[in-house]
């Protein structure tokens, strides 16, 4: 009988039997190692969490009081003789590749990653291993990113043009990662950056963690509308089409995502501008990342796993599709949306961990949640909402 692999996929997540721990488990487990704080990777309900130090405050903000240990890049922790260490994944602040070593065998779990240095988080660092568990969200050759400076230049030009034409600039991007990257790329001599509550809460959590971010102003009912017209409003995808967003009319709204690379996806979002900016590796990025690990075996967790694993197999790798919940074969960035009920000012008014990506669109205090909440959750949410003065 062949030896059990060091890491395996089971119903709960990526499991290391030798060390008795999971990596990014999606069902409650005793011991969870977390690659990064996006909600499809960092789920609620585990007994113990281990994550990178820069994920600390965001995880506590998103998951509440959890038992959390943190560790820096390059440091190690040993569990039952299995050595665990973190290496930069370049995806978002605090994102880590997890290196697992046992009796000379090395596996690396990439989590999500990109290769371009975004000037916000520590850049991706290839790690030598025997087996590599990789994402492939954009694992098709049609995805090929332009350097981020080009994207930021056109973003800044669009902002200037909007000011000239008297329109508010509304930019949509994910609250953790994309928002901070955009903030870093904007030319703040043009105007102020205003933030939706969800994004500002995330910014605050990161600042508590010692991260230096540019100045942002939270949008509240009292924020001066005329001043906002010259500013740029950063908000999460869930605010598209809500009354909250309509308040800024007339506006031009831009959408930041790797999916904007395709005309169909861009037209479907009906955004005025689509900016192709992704925190995932493109096709060439994925291939060079995999080559740099020197691995023989690759497991693909999410994205275009079928064509990408076929391509890798044809180029000599032992490649497999793995079945995870990180999005299935058409991973959507929607899955990264925070799955908390937050009102417009960013007050958390309830938590529902099992909202799937479809419902995540509806997460907004103005829209009732379709997934039924339990009675106790409902009354807790109501109480908090009342305290915050928001309407549910």
């Amino acid at each position: 009988m062949p030896a059990k692999p060091l890491l395996e996929f089971n119903d709960c997540g990526i499991y290391c039997a030798a060390g008795d721990f999971y990596i990014d488990p999606w069902r409650p487990v005793k011991s969870a190692v977390i690659t990064h704080a996006h909600s499809d990777h960092a789920k609620w309900g585990h007994d113990n969490y281990l994550a990178h130090s820069l994920s600390r405050e965001v995880l506590l903000y998103r998951l509440g009081e959890i038992s959390l240990e943190t560790m820096d890049y390059g440091k190690t922790v040993v569990k039952n003789g299995v050595t665990i260490s973190f290496f930069p994944a370049g995806h978002i602040l605090g994102s880590a590749q997890v290196r697992v070593e046992y009796k000379g065998e090395v596996w690396v779990v990439s989590g999500d990653y990109k290769l371009e240095d975004d000037q916000v988080c520590q850049p991706f660092e290839p790690v030598k291993c025997h087996s590599f568990i990789s994402e492939c969200t954009f694992g098709l050759p049609v995805y090929s990113w332009r350097p981020q400076q080009e994207i930021f230049d056109s973003m800044n030009n669009w902002w200037r043009q909007n000011i000239e034409e008297g329109r508010t600039t509304v930019l949509v991007g994910y609250s953790l990662g994309k928002a901070q990257r955009i903030l870093q790329g904007l030319d703040l001599s043009i105007g102020r950056v205003y933030t939706h509550g969800v994004i500002e809460n995330t910014n605050e959590a990161l600042r508590r963690n010692g991260v230096q971010l540019s100045e942002t102003t939270r949008v509240t009912p009292d924020t001066n509308k005329d001043e906002m017209r010259r500013g740029l409003i950063l908000c999460p995808p869930s605010s598209v089409g809500t009354p909250w967003m309509r308040k800024f009319y007339p506006y031009s709204f831009g959408y930041c995502s790797g999916w904007m690379a395709l005309r169909g996806a861009k037209r479907r979002r009906a955004a005025d501008r689509g900016f192709v900016l992704s925190d995932h590796a493109d096709w060439n990025g994925l291939i060079s990342a995999i080559q740099a690990t020197g691995c023989e075996t690759v497991y693909l967790t999410h994205g275009y796993t079928a064509p990408f694993s076929r391509y890798l197999s044809e180029t000599g790798y032992d490649a497999h599709e793995a079945h995870t919940i990180y999005g299935g074969d058409e991973a959507s960035e929607l899955d990264q949306d925070p799955v908390k009920l937050v009102n417009e000012e960013g007050e958390v008014i309830g938590a529902e961990e099992n909202i799937d990506s479809m419902e995540a669109l509806a997460v907004d205090s103005a829209t009732p949640l379709k997934q039924p909440l339990t009675d106790s959750e409902k009354s807790a949410a109501l109480k908090k909402a009342k305290k915050a003065g928001g309407a549910l």
């Binding site: 395709l262 169909g264 076929r310």
Partner: protein, 536 residues
């Protein structure tokens, strides 16, 4: 080409009409006249002839991108557009070029003189000098698949704004047979129409529907409230053929279909009556198959419409007639400004004088005294092989394009059936990478038999929900098609049904579409093949 590519993406980036017109005007003021007329040609569907077939373009693109066929196909299914797929797969270019749109089109048009190897060299070096956006529009033009999400009326509005000419005048001038190689922008913009094109049709006057879907069925009373006294209106059956304009000028005849296709050769049966019309006559009407004094269903016409050669057998099985309902030009004079009642009198006179009344038919005026009477008659439209009624105000002029007010179509409610979705496929364009094309089935004993495909009818939100369902309930994949768990029930609407030997179900539907998603129904409650066949 760069300006044109930029125009294309700017138009893509806005949904606002005024913004589109602004972008178009800016473009027209910037580019040379040759590019203006070329752009107008492309935007109105006058594409250059395809000089390289799509398979070769694809093969050379795969070579240049250095990827296997299967990976190209996978990419294509995700992108949903061949030209775009190629533009994304090719390696990024180092070089640039400054050729104008008309220079590129001239090169494309001269390709037929080249050998296949020369074409390949030309294509690869062309691609190597363009950015992704340029490649995309270039590929679309090259493969003859250029389309743009801008209506003709917008581009005309932009040209009217910068030239000072009336939109109706411009709409008429760009009709018919012109070629951007010989028709210049200054000719288009002359103060007095300088066209000598005797084939040129008039822009069709199109009616809006009184009720968009069966949900909003209007009562006779509501119609009466909206349209007033029935005696001010002329009602005609709405025929299910091909809308056509028939022209006789200087002894030559031309038949145009509504899509501005010159279809004279497709309808030889109509030639004798047209040739005998007085010089300078233009009729608007329906080209339709007709036998034993009775219009035939559209599928009979469909069997001959795509044929290059009309054999004797086809002509016998699907004889054509022309049901005339309007006269736009009489004795060489444009009479579109006359009220309908007067144009009708002229039409009737022409008809009386014709020796071919079995082919040249008049659309009968349905004589009723009240809207209630018409309402009752409308329910029997299918027995007349008609789709409902056309309502036209007796004093209405013949307008340009789709206008509200004077003409309405009042169609019968579609037939409908509850069916189960069993296959799904990704859409194209705006719906690329989303499962939007569905195949539906009804029960035959304990089996689900597919009987129709439908693409439209759901809201964007519903499409997202169905897409989500498909991705998580796939049973099998066959290339781009997925077999999905039978679970979702939809009400499918259609205009007609015919027997078919080509379909497993034994029936073929006319214009099937989704009327609504029946989330209240379980698959056991879907209809049976037997019920469907009762409509036959």
């Amino acid at each position: 080409m760069r300006s044109f590519a930029q125009l294309f993406s700017s138009l893509d980036e806005t949904n606002k009409t005024n913004e589109k017109i602004r972008v178009l005007k800016e473009y027209f003021l910037k580019v040379p006249d040759e590019d203006k007329i070329q752009t107008l040609a492309l935007f109105t569907g006058r594409k250059p002839k395809r000089q390289i077939n799509a398979t070769l373009v694809k093969t050379w693109a795969m070579e240049m991108a250095n990827i296997p066929v299967w990976l190209f196909e996978e990419s294509y299914h995700v992108v949903g557009d061949l030209g775009e797929t190629i533009s994304l797969l090719l390696p990024k270019s180092e070089a640039t070029q400054n050729k104008s749109l008309s220079e590129w089109i001239a090169e494309i048009n001269s390709l037929n003189a080249l050998t296949e190897d020369e074409k390949k060299d030309w294509l690869i070096s062309s691609w190597s000098s363009m950015d992704q956006q340029e490649r995309f529009v270039f590929n679309k033009i090259l493969t003859g698949s250029f389309r743009v999400g801008v209506s003709q009326s917008l581009i005309i509005k932009a040209l009217a704004d910068i030239s000072g000419l009336e939109t109706q005048v411009l709409t008429h001038r760009i009709m018919g047979n012109w070629d951007p190689a010989t028709f210049s922008y200054s000719q288009l913009m002359q103060a007095v129409d300088g066209s000598e094109d005797i084939s040129r049709p008039y822009p069709f006057y199109l009616a809006y529907a009184i009720q968009e879907t069966s949900d909003k069925s209007k009562s006779a009373e509501e119609i009466s409230m909206a349209l007033g006294d029935v005696s001010n209106w002329q009602a005609e059956w709405k025929w299910d053929g091909i809308r056509a304009q028939a022209i006789q000028r200087q002894g030559e005849i031309f038949i145009w279909s509504r899509g501005e296709d010159l279809s004279t050769d497709k309808f030889p049966e109509l030639h004798p009556f047209l040739l005998e019309l007085p010089d300078g006559t233009v009729l608007d009407g329906e080209a339709i198959c007709f036998a034993d004094n009775c219009p035939l269903p559209f599928n009979v016409l469909q069997t001959r419409i795509g044929r290059k050669n009309l054999t004797k057998k086809i002509l016998e099985e699907s004889p054509m007639a022309f049901i005339a309902y309007d006269c736009l030009e009489h004795e060489g004079r444009d009479i579109r400004e006359l009220p309908l009642s007067e144009r009708r009198a002229i039409l009737e006179e022409l008809h009386r004088a014709s020796r071919h009344q079995n082919v040249f038919r008049l659309s009968p005026v349905v004589d009723v005294n009240s809207w209630e009477e018409l309402y009752e008659l409308r329910l029997r439209s299918r027995d007349e092989n008609a789709e409902g009624f056309m309502l036209k105000k007796l004093d209405s002029p013949y307008l340009v394009g789709r206008k509200r007010g004077d003409w309405w179509k009042w169609k019968v409610d579609p037939l409908s059936i509850d069916a189960v979705m069993i296959y799904a496929q990704k859409g194209h364009g705006r719906r690329a990478d989303l499962y939007t094309d569905y195949t539906f089935a009804v029960w035959d004993q304990d089996k689900l038999v597919p009987f129709a495909k439908a693409y439209s009818g759901l809201t964007d939100k519903e499409i997202n929900q169905v897409d989500y369902f498909v991705k998580r309930n796939t049973l099998e994949k066959f290339g781009p098609v997925r077999t999905v768990k039978p679970e979702l029930v939809f009400e499918i609407g259609f205009e007609g049904i015919n027997r078919s030997t080509r379909h497993k179900s034994g029936v073929a539907l006319r214009f099937p579409r989704i009327l609504r998603w029946r989330q209240d129904k379980k698959i056991e409650e879907a209809d049976t093949l037997e019920t469907l066949k009762e409509f036959l």
